[in-house]
């Protein structure tokens, strides 16, 4: 077995950079702090690539299954003999794949940010937060046990909070960061309950023990039952609630669109490529437990994923803020991944969905980061997020235009771009498991192509908007990451994922099922054609359609009033009937007791303060008088 201890450096270097920049960044020139952050992450990325190469190819005998290796572990908190929390690094196919995804996207975002954030007064702060995020995310990936994962899970939540609220002078950004933090934190409560239930029943936090198909965790299925499902199933559903919160699945998705208040590179890194897929990673990490012990929980995952994907796709068709369109697209694509996990079985070809989900995670990270960075370049040039302020930009931003087009074709599932391959695997997995979900995914594929090209035409074609000053192409430091990611989007589909990342570590034969692939490509093309007709030239069709389906359009445009529902539930029900009585109790009973004690003291002090007159001779007189009285008592009475 090869030695992988050095993988520890992959998260530790960003941590070091975070501390360094956080403490001394304000004394550096901005460009220096940017370069330190970027080079720190560059080293991490190189180490991650080396690990991947070694794990998947050189250090591995062909034909055998990929094993999971504990590269490093220390006992961090020794509470009792049974309850010990470890920290370490776990190397297995999905964690190695995620290392590559995260370091790549993070490195691209770092490079891009040097250009994008230029001149910003908080330049070093931005880079130190990015490093903190990279550290937390890499720690989450490498977690050897579910508790370590939970710790880093909260750390990424904090970094996300810090970065969404990066422009802290803007009230909307502050509100968005709070919203993101509270919503995900609320979902994390479910995660914590799930962890406690799971580890109470299995007696371990350790992933290797938990996910061992012949281990005690999976053998304990016959345990206690509650409301028709085993406790294990319930605990896995609760864990999925945490995952759904982080991955913006319905009904916890409301924070994701608002999170777009953060700087665009942050949206690309955290809210498109890495942090939001943490939920997928969590389910994938515990996948053997889900698949073998709790198929009911897996159904929940599939249906939540399927519903979220179509829900978000419909909303995305009506949004006009380009980053929000991309945010809903992200939610939709993550729904795809969840669905793929949900319909998957364990082992061999049954594990097609598992493989497809991770495959899509990989390709999605590339093309969605590309889309966001491209959108960032557009925003950089136009100084607006609204699609109505754009149009005809293809002449002004040629490189952004081409890379954005590549990303749109990729997400629409047009061969030979990578999205085609991964989406095809997901559709195939869904086809073999659940025809209804399969049909939903076909519709979503069409909608995806439609709204992405609506966005594309709206930005780069359409009307010739008159700009105050001519938009100019972004500097090289921003366009080069775009090109690299475009390269990844095109060619990532040719990676032999079915041999690398599978549910049981063994490779299997996979081929493109043309019966599924051809209709899916066709439906994507139809979506593109409709978008072309409607948006390539400014026409009246979109308005007419919006007028015809007035209510549907309005509902979708207002995101199906989910924010309003949440506001109603929190303000009108929770605040009024739960929080207000509790606040009254706190203010009148708890505070009242304390105020009463203080008031009594004050009253007593006023009552006796005359004694402390400060008149020296009065004191002396009382003293002498007292002495005389005592003497008289002792002489005559005792």
């Amino acid at each position: 077995m090869a030695d992988y201890t050095y993988t520890l450096l992959i998260p530790l270097i960003p941590l070091f950079v975070f501390v360094l920049l956080g403490l001394t960044g304000h004394k550096m020139k901005p460009v220096v702090s940017g370069l330190i952050g970027t080079s720190g992450l560059g080293i991490s990325a190189i180490l991650a690539y080396a690990t991947a190469f070694k794990y998947f190819w050189t250090g591995h005998a062909t034909g055998t299954a990929y094993t999971s290796i504990k590269a490093f572990e220390v006992s961090w908190l020794h509470l009792t003999d049974k309850l010990t929390i470890h920290l370490g690094a776990l190397i297995d196919p999905i964690s190695v794949m995620m290392l590559v995804v995260i370091t790549t996207v993070s490195l691209m975002v770092h490079i891009y940010s040097i250009g994008y954030m230029k001149g910003d007064p908080g330049f070093y702060r931005f880079f130190s937060f990015l490093s903190l995020f990279s550290f937390s995310m890499l720690g989450l990936i490498l977690a050897t046990n579910i508790f370590q994962m939970y710790i880093f899970w909260e750390l990424v939540g904090v970094s996300s909070f810090l970065l969404i609220g990066y422009y802290y002078e803007k009230p909307s950004a502050v509100a968005a960061s709070k919203k993101a933090f509270i919503v995900t934190r609320f979902a994390d409560l479910g995660f914590l309950i799930g962890i406690l239930m799971l580890s109470f029943n299995t007696g371990t936090f350790d992933f290797q023990t938990l996910t061992d198909p012949h281990g005690p965790a999976i053998a304990s299925v016959g345990g206690a039952a509650f409301m028709g499902m085993s406790v294990l199933t319930w605990s896995l559903i609760f864990i999925f609630v945490g995952g759904a919160g982080k991955s913006a699945m319905f009904p916890f998705h409301i924070w994701l669109p608002d999170a777009m208040e953060g700087p665009t590179p942050v949206s690309a890194l955290i809210h498109a490529a890495t942090m939001v897929v943490a939920g997928v990673y969590l389910v994938a990490r515990l996948f053997p437990v889900y698949a073998l012990a709790a198929p009911d929980a897996l159904h929940v995952v599939a249906w939540v994923g399927g519903f979220s994907s179509i829900f978000a796709a419909v909303i995305a068709c009506t949004q006009t803020d380009i980053k929000r369109v991309l945010a809903f697209s992200t939610m939709s694509q993550i729904g795809y991944m969840m669905l793929a996990l949900g319909v998957s079985g364990f082992g061999g070809e049954d594990g097609l969905g598992f493989m497809a989900s991770n495959f899509h995670l990989f390709t999605h990270a590339m093309f969605k980061a590309l889309l966001f960075l491209g959108a960032g370049a557009v925003i950089h040039a136009v100084h607006s997020n609204e699609i109505t302020d754009m149009g005809g930009l293809r002449k002004h931003l040629p490189i952004t235009h081409i890379t954005f087009l590549i990303a749109c074709l990729t997400i629409a599932g047009i061969p030979p771009f990578s999205g085609f391959f991964s989406k095809d695997e997901i559709l195939a997995a869904a086809f073999h498991s659940n025809k209804f979900l399969f049909a939903i995914e076909y519709i979503v594929a069409g909608l995806t192509a439609f709204y992405m090209f609506r966005l594309y035409y709206g930005i780069f074609w359409g009307k010739n908007t008159h700009y105050h000053h001519t938009p100019h192409e972004a500097p090289k430091v921003m366009t080069i990451p775009l090109m690299i990611l475009a390269f990844g989007s095109i060619f990532a589909g040719f990676l032999p994922f079915h041999n690398l990342v599978t549910s049981d570590g063994k490779g299997f034969e996979s081929h493109i099922d043309w019966m599924i692939a051809i209709p899916s490509v066709l439906i994507g093309v139809i979506g593109i054609i409709i978008a072309t007709i409607m948006y390539k030239k400014p026409t009246a069709i979109p308005d007419k359609l919006a007028g015809t389906f007035k209510n549907l359009y309005k509902w979708a445009h207002r995101k199906f009033y989910m924010d309003e529902v949440y506001l109603y539930v929190t303000r009108k029900i929770i605040f009024r009937y739960i929080s207000a009585p509790i606040a009254w109790f706190d203010r009148h009973i708890v505070d009242g007791t304390m105020n009463g004690i203080a008031g009594m003291t004050v009253w007593a002090a006023y009552a006796i303060r005359g004694l402390q007159s400060g008149k020296l001779q009065q004191y002396a007189f009382v003293f002498v008088g007292g002495t005389v009285v005592l003497v008289l008592i002792f002489v005559y009475l005792v």
């Binding site: 402390q612 400060g614 008149k615 002498v624």
Partner: protein, 105 residues
């Protein structure tokens, strides 16, 4: 000669001095006069010490020495008290004890 004077004479003198001191301390408003009253009280005690020592334990000297200690302490105390009085004068432009009650409450 001295043997002809009974002990009670000394005690009467010292008691008179003691209560004159108390009276002065309680009625005078001038801080310096109050300090002088305190000296009277101390000295009345000194007389007691010496007198008891002389009449009860003529062979021993503890009472005398204790009296010397009291005088030394009284001298030190007078020095401190006068320093305090000077500071009070600087702050209040007066050494009337009635005025020195501003730190009450």
């Amino acid at each position: 000669m001295i043997q002809n004077i009974p002990l009670s004479y000394y005690l009467v003198i010292s008691t008179l001095m003691f209560f004159i001191g108390i009276y002065g301390f309680l009625t005078r408003r001038n801080l310096i006069t109050m300090l002088m009253s305190v000296e009277l009280i101390l000295n009345s005690v000194n007389i007691n010490f010496v007198a008891f020592n002389r009449y009860l334990y003529p062979q021993q000297l503890q009472g005398h020495f204790f009296m010397l200690i009291v005088i030394a302490v009284a001298a030190a105390e007078a020095a401190v008290a006068i320093a305090i009085i000077i500071n009070i004068y600087r702050n209040f432009k007066s050494i009337d004890v009635e005025n020195v009650d501003e730190m009450k409450y």
